[in-house]
């Protein structure tokens, strides 16, 4: 029984990493209807910013958090400006967005490798004791706990912004119909700017947590494939869907490794994913839109 509970804890911990990343995908998808594959690159840069803040600038921990979130937010917004806006102005089909996003993620990853930072793995300086909190036989990581709290807080803040503020209203309106909301006087450029800024901020947080929990290296972006899967699982474009999808994916992966077979984990998860999509083609909580492709 304690082994099972330990696996649940493991699953939740993995799921919360996915969740922080998946929300970024879903935010962008909800407005622009494409999966922003460059999100992984932004997360990676966020992790590096946090690392350099802590090791070279030696700023306090929470300042590093804020700097890394701001830095990633800035990067995300800049990228939107340079890469996506020209496409948007031309009403390019979603394919072009995806390809540009992939180009951007290739660019970012290799820029880091080619720069003096190089391909080496780097580890964050120890901030918290890695000694886990023991609940009976179950080990609970301190970073996991902190991450859980901060993710929950930032996601709640996000939901608040979207549900309760005026700008949130225009975000929601835009996600229904870009044309319609433009007619109603919503400045779509501003909405998209905010969406990318929010996504970037979260990416910075995700990157920092990832770095603290694991390590920093240029290929962090690859792990976001998993969070993309999680976002699809939960239903693209839906924030609660992204969170639920991520937690479920984390739990399913853990249980598969723990009970069935760790060698075939990804295969089993894939079959399950296809199963869900066959019965519910827009994921668990996806918004059903007309395909724009």
């Amino acid at each position: 029984m304690s082994a099972f509970l330990q696996q649940v804890v493991n699953g939740l911990s993995i799921g919360s990493v996915y969740a922080l990343m998946a929300v970024g995908y879903s935010l962008v998808y909800s407005i622009m209807n494409f999966s922003n594959f460059a999100h992984g690159g932004v997360i990676m840069i966020g992790a590096y910013i946090g690392y350099f803040c802590l090791t070279f600038l030696k700023v306090p921990f929470f300042a590093a958090f804020i700097l890394s979130a701001l830095g990633s937010g800035l990067l995300a917004v800049t990228m939107e400006r340079i890469v996506y806006r020209p496409l948007r102005k031309r009403n390019a089909p979603f394919l072009y967005f995806i390809i540009s996003a992939m180009g951007a993620s290739i660019f970012l990853e290799n820029l880091v490798i080619a720069s003096p930072i190089g391909p080496t793995f780097r580890s964050y300086p120890p901030i918290f004791s890695t000694e886990p909190i023991m609940l009976g036989n179950i080990a609970l990581g301190r970073i996991d706990l902190l991450m859980f709290i901060i993710s929950a807080l930032s996601l709640m803040a996000l939901v608040y912004i979207i549900e309760k503020t005026k700008i949130g209203l225009s975000i929601r309106a835009t996600s229904y119909s870009i044309k319609g909301s433009t007619l109603m006087g919503v400045n779509v450029d501003v909405v998209i700017f905010i969406i990318f800024a929010l996504g970037g901020l979260l990416a910075g947080l995700a990157g920092m947590f990832f770095g603290m929990k694991y390590t920093v290296y240029p290929q962090i972006g690859n792990i976001t494939t998993k969070s993309f899967v999680a976002a699809v699982f939960g239903g693209l474009g839906s924030l609660p869907g992204a969170v639920i999808g991520s937690v479920l994916l984390g739990l399913i992966e853990t249980m598969t490794s723990g009970i069935l077979s760790s060698q075939y984990r990804d295969l089993i998860v894939f079959v399950l994913l296809i199963g869900v999509l066959v019965f519910k083609p827009t994921g668990l909580m996806g918004k059903s839109t007309e395909d724009k492709a």
Binding site: N33, G103, A104, I113, V229, L267, F270
Partner: protein
């Protein structure tokens, strides 16, 4: 440049081109986006290599079996996932590609992660063979595209709902496009196995799939000649940049973005290179000559 080196890259271009042609039909003409074609290449590669190595089958027959094997798998995958839209279909193919790799990693009959070596390379994937196969592939593809079926596919790409309304069986045509692209990818995988003499599941990563799709977009959606030129250019580009090893992928990434922004239709963008004017010109000359002879 030495010829051996160039012919090596040409063979590689030919191998890539096979998959790109298939993807061109799927993405460029039917409007579906796949992240899993490396998986189809893997199936083709392993099937073809097994045929020549363990059953002593001739090269061309083995290639065909490789292609058919991945086509059969594609029918299965298609049956389940072709009803999904845009990104959902993407993720399904992505999962398929990674799952295929995982199975190959675990199956010891195919050497597991350590791969299959000593695949016959002599007299198999040679430049003439690659060119012949690609010529046939281009010919078949052009025939399909110019036929009624090809027009139906384009209709689906342009406006799926409208296509359905006028009675096009959308599912069927998507399936055909997927199956043909898988067949091409399978053959391409088989050629690759017999070019390298060694295959390993790691060779068929997600990156491979995205690279190939980028080529299709680069060449121009809905243009076969664009795919051909795009493949050759993009296979050569990293080779030319080889000396700037650190920066070449940075340049590659930036180039992809730049093309999307400045020339989204790709190199050819729905147009085909046509030799008609040239032919007309030559014909005109000969006609004139004939007339002169007559007079």
């Amino acid at each position: 440049m030495s010829w051996d080196y160039v012919s090596g890259i040409l063979i590689l271009s030919g191998i890539n081109l096979m998959t790109v042609l298939g993807l061109s039909l799927l993405t460029g003409f039917t409007g579906m986006f796949s992240f899993g074609h490396a998986g189809f290449m893997a199936i083709g590669a392993y099937a073809a290599a097994t045929m020549t190595m363990k059953f002593g089958m001739p090269f061309f027959a083995a290639l065909l079996i490789g292609g058919i094997a991945s086509m059969i798998v594609s029918l299965l995958i298609g049956k389940l996932t072709l009803n999904l839209k845009g990104d959902y279909f993407c993720i399904a193919t992505l999962g398929f590609g990674e799952a295929t790799r995982l199975i190959l990693d675990n199956v010891q009959y195919f050497g597991g992660a350590r791969g299959l070596s000593s695949i016959p390379t002599v007299g198999t994937t040679t430049l003439p063979n690659v060119i012949i196969i690609n010529i046939v592939a281009v010919f078949v593809l052009v025939c399909i595209i110019k036929s009624r079926h090809g027009r139906n596919m384009v209709a689906i790409r342009e406006e799926e709902l409208a296509a359905q309304t006028i009675g096009i069986d959308v599912f069927k045509y998507k399936m055909i496009a997927l199956a043909i692209s898988a067949l091409y990818a399978g053959i391409s995988g088989g050629m690759m196995a017999h070019y390298l003499g060694y295959i390993q599941p790691v060779m068929f990563k997600l990156v491979k799939s995205t690279e190939l799709t980028i080529i299709v977009i680069f060449g121009g959606l809905g243009s076969v000649s664009g795919s051909v030129i795009g493949t050759i250019l993009l296979t050569f580009l990293p080779e030319i940049l080889r000396s700037f090893y650190n920066w070449r992928l940075v340049i590659y990434g930036a180039a992809v973005i730049l093309i999307m922004i400045t020339r989204p239709q790709g190199l050819m963008g729905g147009k085909e290179i046509s030799l008609k004017p040239v032919i007309r010109f030559i014909k005109g000359r000969t006609d004139k000559a004939k007339e002169e002879v007559k007079s």
